[in-house]
């Protein structure tokens, strides 16, 4: 067995961007979700290392953090692609054929809900409702450049949109 060293020091170095967030919230009761949201925004997802680090800084057990993180749809435990496709599966979108749109996206990118393309460009996430029901079916594409929403999708238009994004990626 190789020698095990404490890597706490490394972690605070590794996650130094989170320091201001922890400074503000670590000791404020009830702030776990806020801390996780900020952490995910900075690092894209919640890795085991990151969860352990938050645990050390807040004194909340890792198992509890994991329990909270897995309860809510917003949190991810896996890295995402450069572009996160949030495909709306709300009622209005369902009635207007979002299943067909999903099929078209899956077929075009070769991934299923929750998966990332091999080239790391796209991740597909089905979401409950984006609140743009009058434009159904809708998807939002999130990236470092901001969010872009696309409405009145068709099986073919969604492919064109994705191709366009990939071209500029």
């Amino acid at each position: 067995m190789s020698e095990q060293k404490c890597d706490c020091g490394n972690r605070s170095q590794q996650f130094k961007e989170l320091a201001p967030v922890l400074k503000e919230y670590a000791k404020v009761p009830g702030s776990l979700i806020t801390i996780l949201q900020n952490a995910q925004e900075i690092y894209g997802y919640l890795s085991p290392d990151l969860i352990n680090y938050i645990s050390e800084e807040t004194g909340i057990r890792p198992a509890k953090i994991y329990g909270v993180a897995t309860f809510y749809a917003q949190f991810r435990m896996e890295p995402v692609g450069k572009y996160l496709i949030m495909l709306c599966k709300g009622t209005a979108c369902h009635v207007n054929g979002s299943d067909m749109i999903e099929e078209s996206v899956c077929e075009h990118l070769g991934i299923q809900d929750g998966e990332t393309t091999e080239d790391g460009i796209f991740t597909l996430n089905n979401v409950a409702c984006l609140g743009c029901c009058s434009l159904a079916p809708v998807m939002m594409v999130q990236s470092a450049d901001g969010d872009e929403t696309y409405g009145n999708l068709t099986k073919d238009s969604v492919k064109d949109i994705l191709d366009e994004i990939r071209k500029n990626a």
Binding site: G30, Q37, F71, Y72, V95, N96, C133, L135
Partner: protein, 582 residues
């Protein structure tokens, strides 16, 4: 002259940002004297991007579906020469969408700039809280709300004054007034519209409510899927604080009150108040038994009152105009107005605020313009996954808490998803159960396992593998889940199945016994075929993603049913109407 561009989420999704950028560019390049501003969503989401041009005398011209390529015409003709561009102006039939409404909650939406507190003040904003702090006791405020007959707009329809009074009666060193902005019902978006379009009316309502129940802290629990709403609300809170409407000693009255935002993280069950409180405390959002009610023990075990966005936004209007004016609208014990989100197979999707008691058909056909592509209407889903389906033959039902509940549906938060002849009701039930199964927190066995079992049965039926006795099993499970679940999510989860079984039982029977989906929507039960109208243009075979269509040029094509994935692309692309679905 002012150019105001509607920038709610729906406007932005339709390209309002690009339209705005184009206006700014053209106005600058052409040295036109005009200001460019923003407003929230006016509710005519189907016409976005909407641009209002205000003359200096206040006269307004409304342009609709203004894409960047239309901007030049408006700048050159209207802004420069004062000549209205008629072909882009909103049509009378579309303007009627707003004219048939009565707006209380949405009184400022699509009119004022939500990011500018001065515009809210100019409409009489923050006068209600001034009046309350100077002239009224907490009991007076609660009495006024009682007179108004305001009831919770989030779903349950519980009298607002009663909840406030309970919180007032429970004495504590600190109390909380919470706004539930976790609009989780997929298909409802009126709360988003208020948050994005008129955040100050929510803030003012919360200050008034806070005073009435002697709370010191307001909390807005807003869903994370609404980033724009959070951004605008955050700015509004800061601006209100800077003006002294929030903070210590508001209007010199000695009343201290502030509001903070907590972003939710995506869980439908957090609309239930005890789950919401758990989530506010940073825990898994799981409901607990009541009592104790939040009014006694809520956020951090302190007295807490939770109301929904729309409820809060009514409050300043009621204080300004009087409870009686509010109670004069509506029908029976359902007072005031209600905002409905029109979506699904409807021509004019958007937000409609109407006095309670208007028949469903007037909302859907009068305001909403009827069904897309003039298809036959089948029903409307009201109240989302907790509600039910009201069939077309009951469209004379007035929209009141009482009348809608009688049909088996609920008013809920006000989502109206219109369904036409192409919507399969068994599939809709499956859709909702899929949703509630995923969103069940897992605490109660009946909800956790029961929704899963119901979903399995519904999936079986939509796949054409339904068995004799499935309907009865669904009914039995539905009753048990309703009785055995602790919170509203589980208690209402079977409603979509029960209402569709009540009104559309024949569709279930068709699926199970005749292996037929009359709406032609369940893939396992339909079959695409090419008729002799086929000219052999080969388009369908090119469009088929799985190579299931073969045939000679100018000869009738054939679909290989073993390969067909029933995506329907062939039928959509056929120019000769030669492809049928059975």
């Amino acid at each position: 002259m002012k150019v105001i561009i509607g920038q709610g989420s729906c406007g932005i999704a339709s390209g309002a940002k690009k339209t705005e950028a184009e206006f700014k560019k053209q106005i600058k390049d052409k040295k036109v004297k005009a200001e460019v501003g923003i407003t929230g969503c006016v509710g005519m989401c189907y016409l976005e991007p909407i641009v209002d041009v205000y003359e200096d005398n206040g006269e307004c011209t409304r342009y609709v579906r203004v894409q960047p390529e239309n901007v030049e015409a408006i700048v050159d003709s209207h802004l420069k020469d004062g000549k209205v561009v008629e072909e882009l102006v909103v049509k009378d039939e579309d303007a009627a969408f707003l004219e048939q409404q009565q707006r209380v909650v949405l009184r400022n939406a699509g009119i004022i700039d939500p990011e500018n507190i001065e515009e809210y003040i100019a409409t009489g904003g923050y006068e209600a809280i001034a009046k309350v702090l100077k002239e009224m006791t907490p009991e007076d405020v609660i009495e006024e709300i009682k007179v108004s007959g305001l009831r919770g707009r989030g779903g349950a329809g519980f009298p607002t004054w009663f909840k406030w009074n309970a919180a007032l009666q429970n004495k504590a060193d600190i109390k909380y007034a919470v706004c539930n902005a976790d609009e989780g019902d997929p298909g409802a978006f009126m709360d988003r519209s208020v948050l994005e379009g008129d955040p100050h009316s929510l803030i003012e309502g919360m200050i008034i409510g806070g005073y009435a129940m002697e709370a010191q802290q307001g909390v807005v629990y807003c869903r994370a899927e609404y980033p724009l709403a959070i951004k605008r609300l955050d700015k509004a809170i800061k601006d209100a604080r800077a003006k002294g409407f929030l903070g210590k000693n508001i209007f010199g009255s000695g009343f201290n009150y502030d509001i903070m935002i907590k972003a939710g993280a995506g869980a439908f069950v957090c609309g239930e108040e005890t789950a919401l409180i758990a989530s506010l405390e940073g825990e898994r959002g799981m409901p607990r038994l009541k009592p104790p009610f939040p009014a006694a023990k809520g956020f951090w075990q302190k007295p807490t009152n939770i109301n929904n966005v729309e409820t809060w936004a009514n409050v300043p209007w009621i204080i300004t105009n009087g409870g009686e004016a509010f109670a004069a609208m509506g029908k029976g014990p359902s007072k005031g107005t209600k905002v409905f989100a029109l979506a699904g197979k409807i021509k004019k999707g958007g937000l409609a605020e109407v006095p309670m008691g208007m028949p469903i058909k007037d909302v859907i056909f009068g305001i909403g313009g009827g069904i897309k592509n003039d298809k036959k209407v089948k029903g409307v889903q009201m109240g989302g996954p907790s509600g039910g389906c009201v069939p077309a033959e009951l469209f004379d039902t007035p929209v009141t808490y009482e009348d809608i509940t009688k049909t088996g549906a609920i008013v809920g938060s006000g989502g109206m998803i219109v369904m036409d002849e192409d919507t399969c009701m068994v599939d809709m039930s499956r859709f909702f159960l899929d949703f509630t199964k995923k969103e069940s927190c897992g605490k109660c066995n009946y909800c956790r396992i029961g929704t899963k079992r119901m979903l399995e049965i519904l999936e079986r039926i939509t796949k054409g593998e339904g068995k004799d006795g499935d309907i009865e099993l669904l009914e039995e499970l539905a009753g048990k889940i309703k009785d055995g679940a602790m919170c509203g999510l589980g208690q209402t989860a079977p409603n979509p199945v029960l209402t569709t079984l009540k009104y559309f039982r024949n569709e279930y029977e068709d699926h199970i016994y005749n292996h037929k989906c009359t709406a032609k929507s369940c893939k396992a039960l339909i079959k695409y075929e090419i008729t002799d109208k086929c000219k052999g243009c080969t388009l369908c075979s090119k469009k088929c993603p799985v190579g299931a269509i073969t045939g000679e040029v100018k000869g009738q094509h054939v679909i290989d049913q073993t390969k067909c994935v029933k995506c329907g692309r062939c039928m959509e692309n056929c120019n000769f109407g030669a492809i049928t679905v059975e």
